[in-house]
Structure formats: structure tokens, C-alpha cells
């Protein structure tokens, strides 16, 4: 049967091209792989090979023709003894793909009702409490989950014999052995990838980065492999795992060891992002992170490791993702923060109270999913908001919160939202400069005074 040869698409963007030159003529016999023509695309001149065998019955488009649309018949191939007229009616070229309907932008209600907020307490009333550092809380969380699930293991640099560069994994090697608490070479990209592969293969890895600064070596595996595979596989397989380690500035470690990555990871669909402040949240959220069937970025903080907090003394204490914690209720302004930013937020609220300003302080705890309901609900009451974080200003977590408030509670605002952030500079080494580069309590107080017009 005669077949039509169609103008081929030779690049992802080609819609038409020039039939530069025919290398066969009518009557020639061609077989699969023979070059038939040269075609100029938007990118290059390419040779066009025959796929089928046959005799060139008729050339339909002369060489030199420009603007030949993809899928236009350019020649007819016949079998021996066949006439060109035998060509069967070709089906119409593939119909234009129906334009995908873009999802309509979320309608913006003028004055939305107050959103639903989950107000259940994190632990039952009357629960006994014990004092613990954030470091101990994290260790206990990992140990409890490793006892409960054999597939949970910890890998990273110095996590085993050295007991953790910041002693977070203290005692884990003794209890769980070298099969489950694994020292890796200094190869972040490699071991992050091995962790993701192990998660694909049925385990629940906890991958420790000595600090998140070094996770930049591995960010391709975190985002391209861990975060996207569930989607790319149509839901068949994903990476249930935790990437954890200290994030943000420590003290006097300079530009390459002081970055806050909260806003970076928060941007990625497929990741969950946790950044706790207190020891109880560190514990409860770590246990939730290990059980979560998705890749979780768990951003700890070196300065907070040694801080002591009350932690509920329970057999199995967990904190759900996507639920903020209101540390302090207030009426005049909402201060939203997370991680070490909470330290400045709470200090500022104490001082503001002395000046008669009542601040409500919200700890987001998880950045993705983010409990925007609690923020909106609070802003609808206080009509003012200040966000606090250590990271850089452009594309900050606070920027995102501001846009959510603007889109969903615009009519409630009595002042523009102010984002208190770290300064827009790499972290300096000099002690005095470092102090200025970081966010300060004084700046938070100043921002609150601005939005409350005091």
C-alpha cells in the first residue's frame, strides 16, 4: 500500500521548516535509514531518514520550499508495481490538542468569613512534663521511631561513632548498631541519592546533613529525585524520608556556613518543610516527619540545640503538620515567626507588653503545609501583622505570608504587613557586623510600633 511521507517535526519547537534539498528522486528505491532529504528547522539543518521501505512514487513538495508545515505530505512511497493513485486517503493530521483550561484564579471574596482553625491542644490537659533540651528531644524522637519501625535508619557524616557532629545522635549507635546508624564519607550528593534510592526501595531513611549549607551539594537529589518522583510516577513510588540537620546562622561561622534555607525548600511542591522552635515541637514533629510518607525537610538550629523546654512525658507524643501554635494571645498585632525567629518574636512581645501593646505570637512550626488559617484568623482580630525570620528579604517566607494576607484578608488590614528578615548580605564574620546582619528584637519592636502607629 502506498504511504505518504509527512513533513517531520525535528525539534521540540518546530512547527514548520524549509525542505532544503531532496536526496532521492521519483523512481528511486529507498530502505529504512536512507537519507531522503535535508530539512532546515528553526535550529539546524537536519537529514531526514526513511523509516519504511519502498519506491519514491511522487515528490509533492519541491526542494527549496519554505514554510512547509509539520505533517504536510511531502512525498508518496509506493511498493513495487503500485501506482501513486493507490495512496489511501490519509487521516487528517492529528487534531489540535484541546487547549487545557487553566484553573480559574481563586476567587477573592471581599470579606471572607474567618477560616476554620484547629484549636485542639498538643497534649491532654494534666499531662506530666519533663525538661529537655531540643537536642535530647530530637534524639528521643528518632530512637522511639527506630524502635517502632525496623526500616527507619540514620545516615550522615559523623552520626555514628562520633555521636553526631552536634551530638544529636548521641547513643543511637550503641542502641541500634552500625546497620542502622551509618557513618558516610563526605559525599552529600552521593549519600542523599543513596537515601532517596533506599526510600524508593522500601526503607525510611533519615539523612542528616552536618548542616544544611552542605545540602546544597545534594539539592538536586532532594528536589529532582525525592520531591518529584511521586508525581512523575503517577503516584506509584515516592521517597518517604527525612532530610535533617541544623539550618541558618550559628555564631561566627561566616558566609558559607550561615544560610537559612527555609524559603528555598518551602517553595517546592512534593516536600514538606518543618522548622521547630521548642523541644516539644522538635520531638513531636520529628516523629511525625519520620512517619510521613513524603520527603520532609527538617530544619533544626544549632543555637537552639542546647535550649531547654518542657516536653510532655508521654509514650507516643506527636505534633501534626500544618498546625501553628499560638504562644501568646494578644489583640493589637499579630507576630508570625518560626524556628529561631520565635526567640525575637517572644522577646519583642514581652517588651511591647510593658509599653501596653498586646501582641499575639504565632509559631508556624511547619512551613509546608502552612497553617495560614491561624494567621488569617489572628489578623482578622488584630488587623496588623509583622513577620520575623532570619533569612534574606527577597523571596522570604514573610513575603509569602504577606501575599496570603493581602489576598485573603485585605479589608481587615489597618497597616501594611512588615517583614522583619536578616539583612540582604552574605553573613559577615566580624562579631559586630554579624549582629547587625541578623534580625534583632529591637527591629521587631520597631516594626510593631510602625504598624500600630505608635
Amino acid at each position: 500500500m502506498a504511504t505518504e511521507i509527512l513533513m517531520p517535526a525535528l525539534s521540540p519547537t518546530m512547527e514548520e521548516g524549509t525542505l532544503a534539498k531532496w536526496l532521492v528522486k521519483e523512481g528511486d528505491t529507498v530502505s529504512s535509514g536512507d537519507i531522503m532529504a535535508e530539512i532546515e528547522t528553526d535550529k539546524a539543518t537536519m537529514e531526514f531518514e526513511a523509516v519504511d521501505e519502498g519506491i519514491v512514487g511522487k515528490i509533492l513538495i519541491a526542494e527549496g520550499t519554505e514554510g512547509v508545515k509539520v505533517n504536510t505530505p511531502i512525498a508518496i512511497l509506493v511498493e513495487e508495481g503500485e501506482e501513486v493513485g493507490d495512496v489511501s486517503a490519509t487521516p487528517a493530521p492529528a487534531a489540535e490538542a484541546p487547549a487545557a483550561e487553566a484553573p480559574a484564579p481563586t476567587a477573592v471574596a471581599a470579606a471572607p468569613a474567618a477560616p476554620q482553625v484547629d484549636l485542639t491542644p498538643d497534649w491532654p490537659e494534666g499531662t506530666a512534663m519533663k525538661e529537655q533540651t531540643v537536642r535530647e528531644a530530637l534524639r528521643d524522637a528518632m530512637a522511639e521511631e527506630m524502635r517502632a519501625d525496623d526500616t527507619v535508619f540514620l545516615m550522615g557524616e559523623e552520626v555514628a561513632e562520633y555521636q553526631g557532629a552536634y551530638k544529636v545522635s548521641q547513643g543511637l549507635l550503641d542502641e541500634f548498631g552500625a546497620k542502622r546508624v551509618i557513618d558516610t564519607p563526605i559525599t552529600e550528593h552521593g549519600f542523599a541519592g543513596i537515601g532517596v534510592g533506599a526510600a524508593f526501595g522500601g526503607l525510611r531513611p533519615i539523612v542528616e546533613f552536618m548542616t544544611f549549607n552542605f545540602a546544597m551539594q545534594a539539592i538536586d537529589q532532594i528536589i529532582n529525585s525525592a520531591a518529584k518522583t511521586l508525581y512523575m510516577s503517577g503516584g506509584q513510588m515516592g521517597a518517604p524520608m527525612v532530610f535533617r540537620g541544623p539550618n541558618g546562622a550559628a555564631a561566627r561561622v561566616g558566609a558559607q556556613h550561615s544560610q537559612d534555607y527555609a524559603a528555598w525548600y518551602m517553595q517546592v511542591p512534593g516536600l514538606k518543610v518543618v522548622m521547630p522552635y521548642s523541644a516539644s515541637d522538635a520531638k513531636g514533629l520529628m516523629k511525625t516527619a519520620i512517619r510521613d510518607p513524603n520527603p520532609v525537610i527538617f530544619l533544626e538550629n544549632e543555637i537552639l540545640y542546647g535550649r531547654t523546654f518542657d516536653v510532655p512525658d508521654m509514650d507516643d507524643f506527636t505534633v501534626p503538620f500544618g498546625k501553628a501554635r499560638i504562644w501568646r494571645e494578644g489583640d493589637d498585632v499579630t507576630i508570625v515567626s518560626f524556628g529561631i525567629g520565635m526567640q525575637y518574636a517572644l522577646e519583642a512581645a514581652d517588651k511591647l507588653a510593658e509599653d501596653g501593646i498586646s501582641a499575639e505570637v504565632i509559631d508556624l512550626r511547619t512551613l509546608r503545609p502552612m497553617d495560614t488559617s491561624t494567621i488569617l484568623n489572628s489578623v482578622m482580630k488584630t488587623n496588623r501583622c509583622v513577620t520575623v525570620e532570619e533569612g534574606w528579604p527577597q523571596g522570604s517566607v514573610g513575603n509569602y505570608i504577606s501575599s496570603v494576607i493581602m489576598q485573603q484578608a485585605f479589608d481587615y488590614l489597618d497597616a501594611p504587613v512588615i517583614n522583619c528578615t536578616g539583612k540582604d548580605v552574605p553573613m559577615p564574620y566580624a562579631a559586630n557586623l554579624e549582629k547587625h546582619a541578623l534580625i534583632t528584637t529591637a527591629e521587631v519592636i520597631e516594626a510593631v510600633k510602625q504598624v500600630t502607629y505608635r
Partner: protein, 336 residues
Amino acid sequence: MAARKAASKPNVSAEELKGYYRDMLLIRRFEEKAGQLYGMGLIGGFCHLYIGQEAVVVGLEAAAEEGDKRITSYRDHGHMLACGMDPNGVMAELTGREGGYSKGKGGSMHMFSKEKHFYGGHGIVAAQVPLGAGLAFADKYLENGRVTFTYFGDGAANQGQVYESYNMAELWDLPVVFVIENNQYAMGTSTKRSTKSPSYWERGAAYGIPGEEVDGMDVLAVKAAGEKAVAHCRAGKGPYILEIKTYRYRGHSMSDPAKYRTREEVQKMRDERDPIEAVRSMLLTGKHASEDDLKAIDKEIKEIVNASAEFAKESPEPHLDELWTDIYADAAPQNA
């Protein structure tokens, strides 16, 4: 330690040989069809064909057992067909349709099959290498006796993560076969222009990993080497490297002006080293199959491939709601 000489050819039955012929032909015809559909605008974006390299995956799959895993790069269609994935599902993923292995959301470079232990399809050069070592890590941890075939190209072989993976794989005796598909080019860069130590398998020696070079145009040589590598892994001796010398006939992707090599070079390979022709003549000269037997196989393959193209055209585009699914897994563990 490192064995230079490839193992001698194994004895295979006429049936097995015919099976390899069939499996290689399926890949070739499928890829030709994919090329056609691309030309018609039904497949978009990048589409990397496997034509010329068929003996690599068919030979290694012949050495694999049920439950063994495989992971590779974006040049993945052949691997999927060779491990038994359904041509319809693969082709429909290429056309971005609901019936594709990833519901049309992955595309040519990102396909997966949990059922066939195929872990993708990865678009970032060499990213699959630590992932494959990680799959092997899980197998060792779970003590299930499985082996993972981790495929990567000669270009990928220069990435740093490969050597991080070699080191850890040997350090921890992971049951992984690192398969370097050396097709002599990384896009337009020949191996001569990317390294002065072109014997990739020898690099394993620096980490204590044995390996060998294999003729990738000879399916029986590949199978023999695969069996040796798998036996090494299953014996708990750690990883093994196979550098398989092969050749891709088509461009790197669909839009490759192919100016970095001559037509004669490609034609010479096709004429003298074609892996499918080699098996075909083995079957005929050894009188293991008649011309008619082979014609029947050709016909069967043509029907399978045409049916896959029909399926891939008929399968509807994914529902718009799919945009928002599979971003997060539900509480039920994915990999339980």
C-alpha cells in the same frame, strides 16, 4: 582482581536465542515507531531512542531474576520493554496520555513501574547512580537477595556522584551492578573529547570494585558478563562494573544535527556490528530458525508496536484534576 577478559559465550538454546531476537526487535521497531510519532507531533519534548543499543538491556535482563531492580537515565524505552513493561503503557506515556505508565505526567524521560521493579527514567545525568546504589542498600538491609542494575552513559561516567557511589557501594558491599552503556558519545561529545582515561570500568579499581569491558553488540557476551556480575553481587561480594561498548544509531535526541560523526561511521556499525542482524544470522546459519519463523516473529512484533501506537493515540489526555494529584502521598506508606 579486575578480570579483563570477558567470559566465554554461554550455551543457549534455540528458543532462548529466538527470544533475544524477538526482544531486541521489539525495542527497535518500537523506537522506530516512536520516532515516527514524534515526527507527527504526537510525542513532544525530548525523546531519546535506544536503536543500536538493544543487546545491552536484552542481554542483562537474561541474567536477571524476578525481583531484581533496574534504574537508568532518560534513554529508557529499551530498558522498560526489556523488563517486561507493557508497550502500550510506555507508548501512551510518550504521547502524554492517561494510559501511560505515569498517567501522562512523566513523559519519555520519567517512567516507572513498581510491578516490574523499574525505578525510572531520570532526567539528570548520573542522578540515577546513587539512587541505584540506594536501592541496593535497601535490598541488602532487607536481606532479600536482590540485585540492582544501575545503568548510565559514558558522559554520566564523569560525574562526581558516580565516584561517591562507587566508594560507598564497595564500602558497604552493596549488591549493585554498575552498567556503563558506553555508546561513545554524550550528545555531541565523543569520549575522546571528555576524558583521557577512556577505560571507564578500570576506574572501579581505585575503589576496589572489579569489572570488565563487554562487547555490547553481542547479546550473548552481554548475558555472560551479566551472569558473572550478578553472581558476584548475590554472593555478597559487593558491586561490579560492566562497561558495555555499544553504539547509538540515531541522534542523541530527536533534534540532533549529527555533525559530530560521519554517516559512514554510523553506516559501518549498522552494516558490520548490528546486534539484531548478528542473532538473525546465528539463527539461520545454525538452522535454529527458518526464514519463515523469523518472518512470523517480525509480523508479531509489528502488530504489537502498531497496537501500542494506536493505544497511545486513542488513550485520552489525562483529566485536568490529575494536575493536582500525586504531589503528596497519603498516610498509607507508599513503599510498604
